[in-house]
Symmetry: C2
Subunit: 267 residues, 2 copies
């Protein structure tokens, strides 16, 4: 393993670009490979079997492309496939659940933490288990929000409709007295303005993209795997459906244009 | 080809069960095979290449299972893959676009027809072309409604949120003076109560499931392919993800339990 190899990030679709953005901020000299499984997105309503199979295929592909570490940016894949991937592969495999749980634990005062995510992520209870491992006196309240991903992909980020959907999903969590809300899906950070209005300023919103990037930086430093490169590391993108739409939506996530997008056939 | 062979219906997911329901009503003695591509659902945001590839794989599978005719219940697949499938395969391949367009043409008086569907269906302009072929004085107004499918899968069929989403999507069509609205997606019939409230009783809603079933009955009769069987024909289901969720949601579509669901691996 050489420190000059790239860090790979994969997600079911485009949401993982929020992790790429955070990585680029924290580790600007690292080369990054992004893999978006756009032909098979979304993972959130699919079975554990299928998500594990997809995770294996993609991780194998990324290791062939030279990845020194793989970040499973997709919360659903982190929740359902991470233990398996860690078992199978030798390189560091980093999920988004633990960093998100640790961040939430560090900011909560009431020890009442809300979790929102896809159906599969919520059903897996992965965040609850991660939080319980940190402190078994933590109380959690989780809610699947299947309409948030299509809202973000539709670009419907402000106004009455997303506000009403968010109120419907979140009212139970708010009534439960949470003081911290984990965004358990990489799409959700784009809804932060509307979520902040709904939960008010008493509830702190935790976005795992930023904490995962920091966790990755620490881990690679400890393993002596940070690059010596001193210039912009660059970003290579691979997608399983056509690159055109990826480029369009990716701009919304990264806030800048992307050039290198290659189609890949898996499965 | 024997008339005792089954009719096959395929869809990206579960929506095509609205066509199965209509077939069972019109042709109760026919054996039906349903194929739901639940591992790769939804098709609506994917590329034509990919949807054509999926359509070929699935049609090959259904022909191996003995299908005497294949109904492409998915509007997106009908819009993007039907001409290709008709070219490749020898058995009758029936889409939902033409029957839907013909029904809309038969009910419109103002000749102003609205069309709603997934992004891919709307971008394909398949309904516009089918309507223009019938009568080039027809005016159409189309709108992609990407949030309707997740709303239906979430079971969020009544109340303020679906009404607001429907109003946002449909206001432009209503303002255009349409008197007929084609539901260009097999999920949408479940939203008919909320859609009727939004469009009012001046606008007639056309659901292609029912017309496709009637079109299929006529076609098979003309080809001498209607079954001689006089008992309930039965329903076999194949899905590409785990059958458990399929059974749960299928009940919502068919209004009864289903027994025979087998997992299939394609791709």
């Amino acid at each position: 393993m050489s420190s000059s190899q790239p860090i790979a990030v994969f997600d079911s679709g485009l949401g993982g670009l929020t992790v790429v953005k955070a990585l680029q901020k924290n580790l600007p000299n690292e080369s990054i490979i992004y893999f978006g499984d756009t032909a098979r997105v979304p993972y959130g309503n699919k079975s554990q079997n299928l998500i594990q199979e997809y995770g294996k295929e993609i991780t194998e592909f990324l290791i062939k492309k030279g990845a020194k570490a793989v970040i499973v940016a997709c919360n659903t894949a982190s929740a359902l496939a991470l233990p398996l991937l860690k078992n199978i592969f030798d390189i560091p495999i980093i999920g988004v659940i633990s960093p998100g749980a640790e961040m939430a634990y560090s900011v909560t005062r009431s020890k009442k933490i809300g979790i929102i995510g896809t159906l599969a992520t919520i059903q897996s209870k992965a965040y609850e288990m991660a939080l319980q491992n940190l402190d078994n006196t933590i109380q959690t309240k989780a809610k699947a929000c299947p309409l948030f991903v299509p809202l973000v992909e539709e670009g419907w980020l402000i106004g009455e409709v997303p506000a009403q959907i968010a109120e419907t999903y979140l009212s139970e969590l708010i009534d439960n007295g949470i003081d911290t809300l984990i965004l358990g899906c990489t799409h959700y950070p784009l809804l932060i303005p509307v979520l902040e209005k709904v939960v008010g300023n008493r509830i702190r919103i935790v976005d795992s993209a930023e904490t995962t990037a920091k966790y990755t930086a620490d881990l690679l430093k400890n393993l002596n795997l940070l690059t010596d490169n001193t210039t912009d590391g660059g970003l290579e993108n691979y997608v399983t459906d056509l690159p055109v739409r990826f480029k369009q939506v990716a701009r919304r996530f990264l806030g800048r244009e992307i050039d290198h997008v290659s189609p890949v056939h898996l499965g």
